[in-house]
Symmetry: C2
Subunit: 384 residues, 2 copies
């Protein structure tokens, strides 16, 4: 076989982070092989790396060691390429060559060589388009922290309410950015401060996109540039560009009214002790997402109980600070309650009951502009 | 409700290890609820704890804090009881009481209480029987180490050869105990020294039983008493008694002839480097359990290659010590090869090829009385 000219050479420390970032947009179960592939475009001293599942598209670049004159773009299976590059030694220089057969690419490094299938770059789809919308800069760690606080309230089942299946992000008055999610049982809402007043129409970011954004930009200090158009969002940060579809639909504008200010009862409780009690009574739950937990306010203590559909039951007690009358009971969906207790990061939490709405409202005991609401349900009581 | 008298009280540090041990024999997907249950028999200051899935039965005891006069045996769902006890604080004293309803048991500790279903002890099956066979004592860590070295060669699919689905254990001359497993492609054989000559007919221990034995007795220093009868084995060790069915069938007696002594080629290779090369070429494998790896002996180096059914390929090279002629090739099942490389715990391994059988034989480079055999297959060659 004639000695093939390399298409390009690249150092593993350059290529692997680029593959890891774009791999987030690779469709791992793609029926259309293009969507499972990663696009590689060598050009002079840079390699453009891109992937898309047609909901999200991620593009980044990395430096090449050198590039052949006839190097052209091609695509290869993302999972295979990433596995191969990962398994090479950290200091590896990696050579990409034309394959022995048409439709193959050869990858060579040290004593290792691989021949894998490739597809022509011209078959590779792209979501990229000119966005005509608002652009602003923001610190990503604040945004990803807000995402992680409201994610538990996103509806993950398709119940015919698309607006519930993502995270609502909208500018607020007085230089704040609001985040909210709701699933029909619970609501989570968080606000962060921004450097200046933002102005764009509220959007709904699909949960999957929010998760990818968290993984890509969680710890990136440099500010991101965000462009928001009607049905697309683009985030450019740290050399990575992410483009995602948005969820069409209208998020209820006055969602904060779910937490009425005319509440009737307020308790203070330690998050860890309530979490432990809930975990224990859930041991007898038969439907982990539906069984209700009954909370009953007593003198300095709250009774936590769960009775399964089959009739097994558990009761626990947690100390509370509470001034009002005893005997008040409320039933809360156990999954929603656990979601909140796993999210609140203060030591104590304030819980408010009743008022113009029968909801339970959870607020961190200090600082953070966040609140969580659960609308009550009928919960089976346990044997005393 | 009248205040019920406790059936018994037990400290968590006593009960949890007993539940953990017997839980190994609980049928986690039991259709017959008894097989998912754990049997509890309080008697004076001791609690007997037992479980069985009718293939394995495990019984142990733990100390009680106190025991009511009317305490009787009962059974409760193993997974639930273990979860409840695990979730209580480490220092918990746990009270078992009659349930509010018939067919329930109440468990109370501190501020937590649980009501769960119980079944009458009389419904609980037992495999226990008088064994009439050989009895001997042995150090369990040696036995479990041998199990873990041959386990990879056990056939896990039912291919109509029951003797392949377990670990053969048989006394050998000169105070050794032999262990072997084979799956039709590979064979693993290990021998350990015993204090005296043992005498029992060779048996085949089901893989699942061997795994349970490893988890129960892996680090137990006191010697175990093993009783072997026709179709049952009982191991008593560390206060735990395990009874298991054996696999009926005949393990090939002369299995060691699969490693012929008239081999034609012998190489030395570092386990880690061969393992890394095999892992890399397996990245293009399409059928992880079937694709063959082709090994070719060259001057001071061995070529390792894999070509998938679809035509993707990978080649790697590892340094070897080898004196013979170059060009010899052999195809080996990649799963069998990886199984051996994950098991051998010496730095280097000796591999022998050819002779009166075309098998590849792997031997640790120092010490250990163990050997591994793979019978060759046709392996697709890669493009050079």
């Amino acid at each position: 076989m004639a000695k093939a000219q390399p298409l390009f050479r690249v150092h593993r420390t350059q290529l692997l982070p680029a593959l890891d970032a774009t791999f987030e947009a690779v469709d791992k179960k793609a029926k259309n092989p293009n969507l499972g592939n990663i696009f590689l475009l060598p050009d002079a001293d840079m390699l453009t790396v891109r992937a898309t599942d047609l909901d999200i598209e991620i593009e980044t670049t990395c430096e090449l060691l050198d590039c052949g004159d006839e190097a052209q773009a091609f695509t290869v299976k993302g999972a295979d390429l990433r596995d191969i590059v990962r398994n090479l030694p950290e200091s590896a220089e990696i050579e990409f060559l034309p394959g022995a057969y048409n439709g193959q690419i050869r990858i060579r490094s040290g004593k290792s060589s691989f021949s894998i299938f490739s597809l022509p770059a011209s078959d590779f789809p792209s979501m990229a388009t000119e966005l005509r919308g608002s652009t602003f800069e923001i610190a990503m760690p604040d945004v990803t922290a807000a995402f992680s606080k409201v994610a538990h309230a996103v509806q993950t089942k398709d119940i015919g309410r698309p607006f519930m299946m993502g995270i609502h992000m909208h500018p607020m008055q007085d230089e704040r950015l609001g985040f909210a999610a709701l699933d029909g049982i619970g609501l989570a809402a968080v606000q962060i401060r921004t450097e200046r007043l933002l102005d764009f129409p509220g959007i709904i970011i699909p949960l999957k996109t929010a998760q990818v954004i968290r993984r890509l930009f969680d710890e990136v200090k440099e500010p991101a540039t965000i462009e928001v158009a009607d049905n697309l969002i683009r985030i450019r940060c740290n050399g990575v560009s992410l483009l995602s579809k948005l969820i069409e639909g209208k998020f209820p504008e006055h969602y904060l009214t779910a937490a009425p200010s005319d509440y009737e009862r307020e308790i203070f409780v330690t998050v860890a002790s309530l979490k432990a009690a809930v975990a224990r009574v859930c041991l007898v739950a038969s439907e982990t997402d539906k069984d209700g937990i009954k909370l009953t306010l007593e003198r300095d203590t709250m009774r936590v109980e769960l009775t399964s559909k089959e009739g097994e039951s558990a009761i626990d007690y947690v100390p509370i600070q509470y001034e009002g009358e005893t005997g008040f009971s409320i039933g809360l969906n156990n999954e929603a309650l656990r979601g909140i207790l796993n999210t609140v990061d203060t030591q104590d939490v304030i819980v408010r009951f009743g008022g113009s709405l029968p909801n339970a409202v959870f607020l961190p005991s200090v600082g953070a502009a966040e609140l969580y609401v659960i609308s009550p349900m009928m919960a089976r009581g346990a044997e005393g």
